[in-house]
Every structure is written in structure tokens, then in C-alpha cells.
Subunit: 477 residues, 2 copies
């Protein structure tokens, strides 16, 4: 029997089940089949459904199954039933109810590029097995209730271990009570920025070139960004005189994020002096200083004055972003606001926190850092050497530490065009101009990250880059 | 030899190393020891350090070691050196440089309570081993480059699997292109709220009682909250007439978050009609409808009109918050803004996403849901039965589905006082009043979550609760 106004073969309704409705109780399967027919237009608006007794007989199911399915679809608004008359479809697809057009494009996971000169961790060197082992150990040894929502500010055990590590390896003055764990340095900056806003701050000084992710976090919290110049001694601290009202400054002290130089000792002292004189706060972005090749990296400023300096860091460069852990060591007066719940889950998964604690306690992290330092030292030397041979007229900066080099380009070179060229040749690069808060058209540069550059292709990558530079006329000679 | 102005026993400097400086290269160890002496006041401001040659002889180290250590501390701002005169300490502890007072209290991880009647997942039932296995499988089979920063909106594989699951189990109309993965339902609401703000929305209607975490997320994005009343048929849709300018409404359609009832079919239709008539958006909070005990839960409204409804959900109740995954299925026109990078890492760790994909594909998630339904059904029956026996005059609502019951209290009862009493007896409860946007002093209630209530203590918990209610005079008789 067919329902009125429709040619649907009712008796086959359960033969070709709607996707995912093959299993499960009969009423649910039947409701799913009818819903699918309504959705795809086989059962149009106003169509009458067969009486439940009839359909039950056709399908060889109980009448209860049919009334259950109808009832469910009535509840959901697909059908309308009135006593004494047929149950009818009361739903129609919206006119523009078609699969979203672009939805299926760009659905592929990002592909590994051959020459990855972006600024990132060494993806190949992420000790996955050890990390999974740490997750297993954490899952097996943690009381079940500690795997629920993570504690605001991070798990006490991880805070203790991280604080000890920072004190030892970076000369920080961190304590479990002042260190707060979030899901990355950006998130840490966001929480710190909110704390500053809550404390009456309205602006923060930012190095230009600097860290766009930190700008975004500060801006999203409502802080205005005040661009501050940098040179080969790091932040130009004297420039703070032009902003007498400024009470917060973000700085890469161990290594300027773009130029790669440490903040010069005199400026370090002047910056601390500024903070003490004005009651200001220094936000120290200590982002990759675990990696140093030409002597030790200076200890963090935060160790000199934990009341005037907040220290940001994360595991995203030294380990891998999927670890999803960053931190801020804040002056004690700010800790409460930094950890305040702002309605967003900013704590990394509890299991990740406990796994990292385990990973660090077992010594696996220190071993990973030592191995990474050796690897990066060799890779940096190979890259810097190849650049010198292939591009002898170019100035290379920032090779003493960190995970990238800055290649200065001749004034007038279109760095964006070079990067586009490079992409066509399966190479990704960083553009110095994109790290600038204030445009500086005369000083283009390329950032060559080697964290994730395969050792096998270093020379090849430099040859390709030199080729592109010579073609685009950006040669020094 | 002792430096001027100090009694420091220089020759013992390396005997009792500062914490964490026992190992490592000698210059670093020496710098650490001197830094520690400066920090703790043994080397006061202005103190002169021994000439490098002298100290080297005292310590039995090379002169290079000493100059390296001094140089490092000069860079860090602890020492000042001038050619021809002694190197001196130029750093003093700040007057209030003392360990933060409250820092060491409240450092303990939260303790499991005996009677946990808060609204949460079944912590004991989280299949940890299977979850760790899924993480291991994901780590072993995923190309290394996919473990880096997670793709905005989530990994395509997880989006595909989640969309299929929602379509099958919740009658949703989700596609990988419209479903976006974030680190929880709150984060998903935050991204959606930002998208609404970007599209010109200034306010959103919110059920009262409703979900404070969703309010927070919407408010943080700059949306005003318009309280809307609910009754035992769910959201009072007619009340939208009082807010003719409103174009977004958040609703628990399958189950009102506090009262536990589904949105009545007539209201469901009226709400959809409102959205279509006004061009408004329904934000459907489908938070725990996988758990149903009295017949099937209605399919989500989103399945009826994916252009007018955004669907929110997460794994925090059905699995565990440490999975750290939630989602929003948004109308196609909003997907771009929903996924827009706002400077915060809102994507869950890539490894978690891929582990969840694996967990779902292997059938482990469906098995977990089936087992959970049986367990919750029995626990709900035990709890509802015990309440009926121990507190026969009380009205219990919301028992058909979900993970909690609402126990109405007699008008005038001080619910907060009862909750305080309960805490003293190792019991945690939810307060209906805390879910209200608009105070309703005459209608107190307790929310009794049984997701994480140990089966062994159900009767005991109800006896304690009845005892407290009788003592505080909140008895119905």
C-alpha cells in the first residue's frame, strides 16, 4: 500500500536503511528511515503516512513499532498527527537546504612540506613512544577523580616540577604557587592580559618586530598595543620615555623573537629599573631559550625580580604542540586574577599535565633537551654554513640560540613574492614583515626556522632559496 | 681569600651547590652558586667578588670557568664589572621579596567526596586503558606532521566520524564541513558567540534556569544575555514576543538543563518557526541526551533546519573531561567565523583528536555508551526510589533522561544552607538558584547529579540528605 500523495514504496522502507540506522531497536530504525525520506524529499510536505496498522502489516513489524516511530517524529516536528485523521508530514527542506558548497574542499589534513623553514618544533624528534608511555603511567597511577576537569592554574604536581625545572635551567624564581599552567604560551598571555585589565592596565608595550600571537592574546583581553622598537641589542628600552603612562612591556630577553639577539646587559638593567621606578610589569617571553649554541643563554630576568616580571613559556617548541602545555610565572599579587575562571577551559587536559609531570620526573625531558640541543646545533651550523657559501653577501642574524635565523634581504626586495615563489617549490618560510606592528618597508627579511627542517635537505633547501633569490633579483651582487 | 664586605667562604662555593646545580658544566654550576648567594643575601649589594684568578685557584677550576660565570651573571644583571676594578654585586632582593604567603596552601589536588551529587561524568567508568590504547594507536599511525598544532576547527578525520555519529545517534544534519571541534562545549560556545558578534548580533536569549558556563562564554564574547523563562514544557517560546529584536536563543531542547524535561513538540515547532520568520539562530545545547531511560530522546532540532540551528555538544559528560573535546555544528554561513583564529589555542591537542577518532571508529565509544546507559538507568532508578521512600512529600523532576534529578524544596527553604550542611557530611550537591539568571526566591531546589555517585552509597547518600532536610526544617510534612 502507498501513502497518499507519494510514490514511496513503504514496504521497502526498512530494506535500505538510512545511514547508521541499520542496527538498533526497530522503532528507531523505522523513525530514521522515515526521517531520511522526509529530508530527501521522497515524502514531501503534506504527504499522508499510512495508518500504523497498515504499515505494520506491510513491514512485518508490530503496530507498537510504528506508533513509536510516528510518535518520535511528531515530537521532533517532522510529522503532525491528529486523532481521527492521517498523520502527515509537516516538514519541508529549506529552499537553500543543500550541502554547503565549499565544505568538502580544504578538508584534507595539512601535508608535510619538503623544506619546512617555518618556526616550529622538530616534529620528527617528538618522542612519541615515551610520551605515550608517560600518558599510560599517568592514567594508571592517578586517582580517578583527578582525571576530571583540570584544576584552575594546573595540577599541583606539574606546577612543582615545572617550577623546579625553570629555576634550575633558566635561573627563574618560580614556585608552585606562582606558576600557572595553561594550554600554551598564548593562552597564558591571554590569562595574564585579562589579569592586567582587571588591575586597571589599558595598554602594553610590544616589540616590533615581535610575536603576533602574544599581540592577539593581549588585544583580545582589551589591551592596547604600544609598538616599541628593537635593534641588535634587543628592545630599545629608552623608547619607554616616549610612553610615560605605560606600565607593562612584553620582551624577549634571552632572545629577541625576530632578530635573535639577547637583550643587552645594560638594557636589561635599565628595563628592570624602569619597572621598579614606575611600578610597571615586564612580561618576559622565554620562548625557546632552552636551545643555545654559543655559550649559555642568560638566565631569565624574572629570577632577578619576581614582583616586577611575569615569565611566559611553553612545551610547544621544545617538545610538541600536542603536549598542549604552557605556563606563566606571575608576580604573587597577580596569581589570583591570572587563574580566575573566565568561562573557558584554559587548563590542558589533566592527563596531559600528569603525563608531562611524569615525563619530566623520569628524566625523559632532560634527555630530550640534551639530544635536541646537539641536533639543533649541528643543523644550525649546516644551515648557516650553507647560507654563507650560497649567499655570501647576505647578513645572517640570530644564530647563537633558538630555532631560527634571520636572513636580511636587500632593501626593496619583495619578501612576500619570494615566499610565494618558495611555496611553489615546496618550501615554507617566515616573513619578517609579518612580525612587525609598525611597517618598516625598507628592511625586508626572511625568517628561516630549522626546528623542523629535515637534516637531509638542508643544503638542497639553501640551493633552492638561493635560486629563488637570484631569479627575483634580490641578489646582493 | 674572602671578597670585601662579605664573609662568604668562597672556597666552599661549589661544595654545597644551589638546588639543581649539582650537575652540568662548571661555569653554569659556579654561576648558579654565586646567583644563589646573591639571592639569599649572603652576597649583599655592592659586595666585591674575588679576582677571577684568585677564585679559580681557591676552587681548583680554570680561570676561564670563573670569567665565564662572572660574564654570565653580568649579562643577567646580578654583577657589574668594569675594567680595572673589582666585579661587584649590583642586585639586591626587593624589600617584599619573600615567598608568597598563601602560595603553599590550597596546593593539594581536589579530594574525592564520599557522596558526589554534582553534575559530572562517571569518573570511575572512564575507560582509561582503552583511551590510552587509542592514544597509542593514534601516536603510532599518524604522520609526524599531524601531531603539531591542531588544525583550526579540528582534524578532518575526527570531524567526519563525529558528524556521522551525531547524524546516526542524534538525528543531526552534521557534515565534516560544518562541524568544528574545540576543547569543550564552553569553548565551542565561545567561538560561536564570537561569530555571532562578528555578524552583528549583540544579545542572546538564555534559559533561566540554564547553563552558567554558556552564559560566561557568550558574555566574554560581548553578547548581552536576555533571560527567558522555562517551565515543565521547557523554554517558554512565547516569551520571545517580549524581545522583538532578539535574533539568537540558546535552548536545551532534548532536556532542559535544570528541569530535565524536553522542549514540548508544539514549542519546538514554534521555536523553529520563530527562527525562520525572524532569520534568528537557535543554539541547541545537546549536552547529555545520549542518556535516556524512558524511551528515545527526541532527535536534535538541528536535524530539522541546519541553517537556523547550531548544535553544541561535548565528550565531557559521556566520556571524561580529560578527553577535552567538544563541538559545534554551525549553519554553513557561520562556519568560517566560528573557526576563525582569535589568538587562542582552542583546538584540543591533535593527539586527543586522533585518539578519539580511533576510539569511536573501533566501536569502543558505542560500547561505552551502551554500558553507561545501563549503569545510569539502574543508578537513576535506585536514587529515585530511595528519594521516594525517604522523602515521600518531595517532587522529583527530570528522571527520564540525563544525569541528574531536580528535587524541589518547600518555598522558603535555604538551599545554600542545606548545601553547606551537606558539605560538612562529605556530600556535594547542586543549587538550582545558581543556575538562574534572574533570582526566583520562592522556588528553591537541589540538583542531584548521579553521574559520579558511587553505586554503593546511593541509599546512604539519600539517608544523609533526608537527615539534613529534616534537621533544617525543610520537611514537607
Amino acid at each position: 500500500v502507498a501513502g497518499k500523495q507519494t510514490n514511496l514504496a513503504w514496504e521497502t522502507l526498512l530494506d535500505v536503511p538510512a545511514p547508521g540506522t541499520r542496527r538498533g531497536p526497530l522503532p528507531a530504525r523505522l523513525a530514521g528511515a522515515i526521517r531520511a525520506a522526509i529530508r530527501d524529499g521522497r515524502l514531501p510536505h503534506g504527504a499522508a503516512l499510512p495508518p500504523s496498522r497498515t504499515l505494520a502489516a506491510d513491514l512485518g513489524v508490530s503496530r507498537w513499532t510504528v506508533t513509536e516511530a510516528y510518535g518520535r517524529l511528531i515530537t521532533e516536528g517532522y510529522l503532525a498527527g491528529r486523532t481521527g485523521s492521517a498523520t502527515r508530514v509537516c516538514w519541508a527542506p529549506r529552499p537553500h537546504e543543500a550541502p554547503p558548497r565549499a565544505a568538502r574542499t580544504a578538508e584534507n589534513a595539512p601535508r608535510a612540506v619538503r623544506y619546512d623553514l617555518t618556526y616550529r618544533s622538530d616534529q620528527r624528534a617528538f618522542p612519541r613512544r615515551r610520551w605515550v608511555e608517560a600518558i599510560r603511567a599517568a592514567a594508571e597511577t592517578t586517582p580517578f577523580d583527578q582525571l576530571d576537569y583540570a584544576q584552575s592554574g594546573g595540577h599541583p604536581r606539574l606546577r612543582e616540577i615545572l617550577a623546579a625545572h625553570l629555576n634550575r635551567s633558566r635561573g627563574a624564581a618560580a614556585e608552585p604557587g606562582t606558576l600557572s599552567v595553561f594550554s600554551g604560551a598564548g593562552q597564558s598571555m591571554a590569562q595574564l592580559s585579562h589579569a592586567l585589565r582587571a588591575g586597571g592596565h589599558t595598554a602594553i608595550g610590544m616589540e616590533s618586530p615581535g610575536s603576533p600571537r602574544l599581540w592577539q592574546a593581549a588585544q583580545a583581553a582589551g589591551l592596547d598595543l604600544v609598538p616599541l622598537p628593537v635593534d641588535d641589542d634587543g628592545l630599545v628600552v629608552d623608547a619607554l620615555r616616549d610612553h610615560p603612562g605605560l606600565r607593562a612591556v612584553c620582551v624577549g630577553a634571552a632572545r629577541q623573537v625576530a632578530l635573535g639577539c639577547p637583550l643587552a646587559p645594560g638594557r636589561r638593567a635599565a628595563l628592570l629599573d624602569w619597572a621598579r621606578r614606575t611600578g610597571g610589569l615586564i612580561v618576559e617571553d622565554d620562548y625557546d631559550s632552552e636551545f643555545s649554541y654559543a655559550g649559555p643563554v642568560p638566565a631569565v630576568i624574572q629570577g632577578s625580580d619576581r614582583d616586577r616580571v611575569a615569565l611566559l613559556g611553553s612545551m610547544s617548541r621544545t617538545l610538541n604542540p600536542t603536549v598542549s602545555i604552557g605556563w606563566v610565572v606571575a608576580p604573587p599579587r597577580l596569581v589570583g586574577e591570572v587563574r580566575a575562571d573566565r568561562g573557558l577551559p584554559v587548563s590542558p587536559p589533566a592527563l596531559n599535565q600528569l603525563a608531562l609531570a611524569h615525563f619530566m620526573e623520569s628524566g625523559a625531558y632532560d634527555r630530550h633537551l640534551r639530544a635536541s640541543r646537539l641536533r639543533f646545533r649541528a643543523r644550525r651550523a649546516a644551515l648557516a654554513g650553507a647560507l654563507q657559501r650560497a649567499l655570501p653577501g647576505y647578513r645572517v642574524r640570530g644564530a647563537q640560540a633558538g630555532l631560527d635565523l634571520l636572513l636580511d634581504l636587500p632593501a626593496g626586495t619583495d619578501a612576500a613574492a619570494i615566499i610565494q615563489q618558495a611555496e611553489r617549490r615546496d618550501m615554507r618560510l617566515g616573513n619578517l614583515d609579518e612580525l612587525r606592528l609598525v611597517p618598516e618597508p625598507g628592511a625586508p627579511g626572511l625568517l628561516l626556522g630549522y626546528g623542523n627542517l629535515s637534516d637531509r635537505v638542508v643544503d638542497e633547501a639553501v640551493a633552492v632559496l638561493a635560486d629563488i633569490l637570484s631569479q627575483t633579483g634580490a641578489s646582493q651582487h
